[in-house]
């Protein structure tokens, strides 16, 4: 009841006209900023930080966090409509969402993403209300060994992520691993494969890779045919979710939301990792894994639910401990400092009005975002009625401006173009691009957490099974590796018994 009373207090703070107005402003800006490629929620929040000077701390904070989760809704738009990830966490949405759009189902993809984000968001805030102190302890239980196993779990799934041959999927992942190697080694400080380039010293940014490999590459492929300018013809009323779609997506939303929230809690992983892992898990859980990569609505729903609930989950370590769990919460912490409030373990008690006002505002913000996104999904989707060749200059130029805005340098613009060409060649060589993106995100986490773990344990690999959480994860890793093998052996034995071994060797081509 204590939490409910605090929440009621929070609502009384959040419901003042000023604060309501700023929640509205925040989520609207977030929606816009999320839709712009290159500028993610954290950069957008930082750019708008000066606007918050002179506001009440609560007002400033509800607006900034509105940008943070509003961005998660907005990122879906560009991913689905033009295959350019609006922000890093929407990268998996670009894979399946855009395929759906080509099938004339953009409206459904957007609606499923909006509903998934909303349900996951509301669920995450509810968990925030009741469980923040307990969850913060849980979040701290995760450290390097757990991160390593988590990343390993994701990486081992890459082989199954492709749509064609497993070798080609693994080649895609290996290219991603190579990209991730570039830059200063965070543990020893030596520069690796930078070839003397200062710009590469901090490694290759994720966004140029994502924008290039998806957005630019797709446009290059579309240029091959002159007829590509035909617009996707759909009527507005064909763009709503049907009952069948809903049944297909609801479990994906639940799984995605839970996975996203748990990963969001961990200070070492953010919404991008959350969306990737939710997508990978969903592919395994889905009744039709073969649809993934060719327009799976449940894949979109899982990834989008996960990134929104991860954005909310990252508030737990931030509010309870003062630790940033993601780039966006780092900016929120900076905003707190600028407003003269010291974050830390005492924030929950010392600034109860602020914290609970913020939490209550997240309920309101998510409702506003649902209202904004759901009825408008068909409208947004109708952008695709513009002939494609008139969209191309806009997509390219806005993508490149976004790439420039990442670090205000032309280097990233060039890098985006380079990866656009890489992505084009990958499409031509039939190498799936999703494993590459997955590897780029997970490889640094996997490498540094492996090394940190062994440093913490003074070289003993037992650290991966001694800790309770890591033991569970280790079992999951072994299970995910052994299960397909086990299934394969069972199938073989059954086949042999039936004496149709030849048939099997044909179908496994």
């Amino acid at each position: 009841m204590d939490a409910l009373a605090s929440l009621a207090q929070g609502f009384s703070v959040a419901m003042t006209p000023t604060n309501l107005l700023f929640v509205l402003i925040g989520v609207t800006l977030g929606q816009l900023i999320g839709a712009l490629p290159g500028i993610g929620p954290s950069a957008g929040m930082a750019l708008l930080l000066p606007v918050t000077f002179g506001l009440e701390p609560v007002t400033a904070l509800v607006m900034l966090s509105g940008i943070m989760y509003g961005g998660m809704y907005g990122g879906t738009l560009t991913s689905v409509l033009v295959n350019v990830p609006g922000e890093a966490a929407s990268v998996m949405t670009a894979v399946d969402g855009n395929q759906l759009a080509r099938q004339g189902r953009a409206g459904q993809a957007l609606a499923a993403a909006a509903i998934g984000s909303f349900l996951a968001g509301i669920g995450a805030v509810t968990a925030l209300v009741f469980l923040t102190p307990a969850l913060s302890a849980f979040a701290l239980g995760f450290s390097s060994p757990e991160y390593f196993l988590l990343a390993l779990l994701g990486i081992t799934a890459t082989a199954s992520l492709g749509t064609g041959s497993a070798v080609k999927a693994m080649i895609g992942a290996t290219l991603g691993l190579m990209i991730a190697l570039v830059g200063t080694d965070p543990i020893q400080g030596t520069s690796r494969l930078t070839f003397g380039s200062l710009e590469l010293l901090e490694g290759v940014d994720f966004l140029p890779v994502a924008i290039g490999v998806f957005g630019i590459a797709e446009i290059l492929v579309s240029m091959e045919q002159t007829q590509a300018s035909a617009a996707v013809r759909t009527r507005l009323r064909d763009m709503w979710l049907t009952r069948k779609d809903w049944v297909e997506c609801r479990m994906a939303m639940l799984r995605g939301g839970v996975i996203g929230f748990v990963i969001g809690l961990m200070p070492g992983a953010g919404p991008t990792v959350a969306a990737l892992l939710a997508y990978v898990v969903e592919k395994k859980a889905s009744p039709h894994p073969e649809k993934f990569g060719h327009g799976a609505l449940d894949g979109v729903a899982a990834a989008e639910s996960a990134n929104n609930s991860a954005a909310h989950g990252a508030m737990v370590p931030m509010l309870a401990l003062g630790i940033p769990g993601s780039a966006s919460t780092a900016v929120l912490l900076a905003a707190l400092v600028l407003l003269g409030i010291r974050p830390g373990p005492m924030l929950l008690t010392e600034q109860a009005d602020l914290v609970w006002g913020l939490i209550a505002s997240m309920f309101i913000g998510n409702v506003i975002l649902l209202i904004m996104n759901l009825p408008l999904a068909p409208l947004f989707a109708s952008v695709l009625r513009i002939p494609y060749s008139y969209l191309v200059p806009g997509i390219l130029i806005v993508s490149l401006v976004g790439a420039y805005a990442i670090s205000l340098s032309l280097f990233n613009v060039g890098l985006t173009l380079f990866f656009g060409m890489v992505g084009y060649l990958m499409i031509r060589a039939d190498i799936p691009r999703a494993p590459l993106v997955l590897a780029v995100v997970l490889a640094p986490l996997m490498e540094s957490s492996l090394r940190q773990s062994l440093m913490l344990s003074e070289g003993s690999p037992a650290i991966f099974v001694q800790r309770p959480l890591s033991a569970v994860l280790a079992l999951l890793v072994i299970g995910s590796l052994a299960l397909p093998l086990f299934n394969f052996m069972l199938a073989r034995r059954a086949a042999r018994r039936a004496g149709v071994a030849e048939a099997l060797s044909h179908s496994s081509d």
Binding site: L198, L201, G268, I323, R342, L408
Partner: protein, 340 residues
């Protein structure tokens, strides 16, 4: 008056030519040029190399806000984050703008350390020094239930077995890493330094009880101490901090170990910045440092604002650089051959 004019792009050259003409006229009319005319025209960019939300970024944004609000500087000040290359992208951007009066670079530790660790030519002595005006302390913290009560016991514990005391910190070559190196040197012990992906991740590892020791700023450490999640062993300044929350914390020096390290931030101009503009900044920063709102905002975060003016900043930076170089060499991280 304005050196190396040819190196600048056309539009700037035109702008500055007009400006120089105006200046010339003003100088003829009033040989003792007043400061008011020394202000650059148009918006001024403050370049930082951190992403938004990093300490230097926050400090520069706050300074910019007060400088503009208090009308100390009339030109709009814009903080830009040019990330990449451990500040080298930001630094090189400013280095290339020779004599440009509309840009300054935020000086933070990587400006000194990245050239050392990457074996690049030094930067601090090529930029036009303006001022260092923000200083911060560091404290060493241990787990609240740690048996270690002071530095002496910590060193004793670390001496029992090599690399048994685990230290969390940011990336290799960061402030945290250098402090860990200083502790090793002062106590003649070996610590197990585990670099994490930034200060936040290191703090999470510390709070999760995975490591024994960590370096924090007072504003990070005090809330943790208050919440019973950490205990401060020592402050690494030359003398105790006067702040009421910190005055009871003994310095490392008091405890018999010569571990003195801190953080410092400031501004520098591009190479060949004219003396007028340096004077303009010198005056502005003197006013900023005297501003009560600025002082109060820093005090809240346990930072200090003592101005090292333009005239003295050169030897100051030289000394800082040599200290960093010596320490990084001890840690085996220096690629730069010698003091240049």
């Amino acid at each position: 008056m304005i050196p190396s004019r040819a190196a600048r792009p056309l539009h700037l050259r035109l702008k500055h030519a007009a400006l120089a003409a105006a200046f010339g006229a003003a100088l003829v009319a009033a040989p003792a040029a007043s400061h008011a005319q020394a202000a650059p025209t148009g918006p001024i960019e403050i370049t930082t190399g951190t992403s938004p939300g990093g300490t230097p970024d926050v400090l520069m944004r706050r300074a910019a806000k007060i400088l503009n609000e208090q009308k100390i500087i009339a030109n709009p000040l814009v903080v830009q984050n040019r990330t990449g290359g451990s500040w080298m992208v930001a630094a090189n951007f400013v280095m290339a703008k020779k004599g440009d009066r509309n840009i300054v670079l935020c000086i933070a530790q990587p400006i000194l350390t990245t050239p050392i660790t990457q074996g690049l030519p030094t930067l601090y002595d090529k930029l036009t020094p303006i001022s260092m005006f923000i200083q911060g302390d560091l404290v060493l913290v241990v787990q609240p239930d740690s048996p270690v009560k002071d530095l002496k016991q910590l060193i004793a514990l670390a001496g029992q077995r090599e690399r048994s005391v685990k230290v969390a910190g940011a990336q290799s070559g960061s402030t945290d890493h250098m402090v860990s190196g200083l502790v090793e040197k002062a106590g003649k012990v070996k610590l197990n330094y585990v670099p994490f992906d930034g200060g936040g991740a290191a703090q999470a590892a510390f709070l999760g009880g995975n490591v024994d020791l960590m370096t924090l700023t007072p504003s990070e450490a005090l809330p943790l101490v208050k919440g019973g999640k950490a205990r401060i062993l020592a402050i690494l300044s030359t003398e105790r901090s006067p702040a009421p929350e910190l005055k009871d914390i003994p310095t490392a020096k008091e405890q018999g170990y010569d571990i003195v390290w801190g953080q410092a931030w400031g501004l520098a101009g591009p190479p060949g910045l004219d003396a007028e503009t340096v004077k303009f900044w010198d005056d502005a920063i003197a006013k900023l440092v005297a501003n009560p709102e600025w002082q109060a905002s820093l005090k809240e975060n346990f930072l200090r604002s003592r101005m090292v003016p333009a005239a003295e900043v050169k030897p100051y930076m030289q000394k800082l650089h040599d200290e960093h170089l010596a320490l990084l060499r001890d840690l085996g991280l220096a690629k730069q051959p010698a003091v240049q």
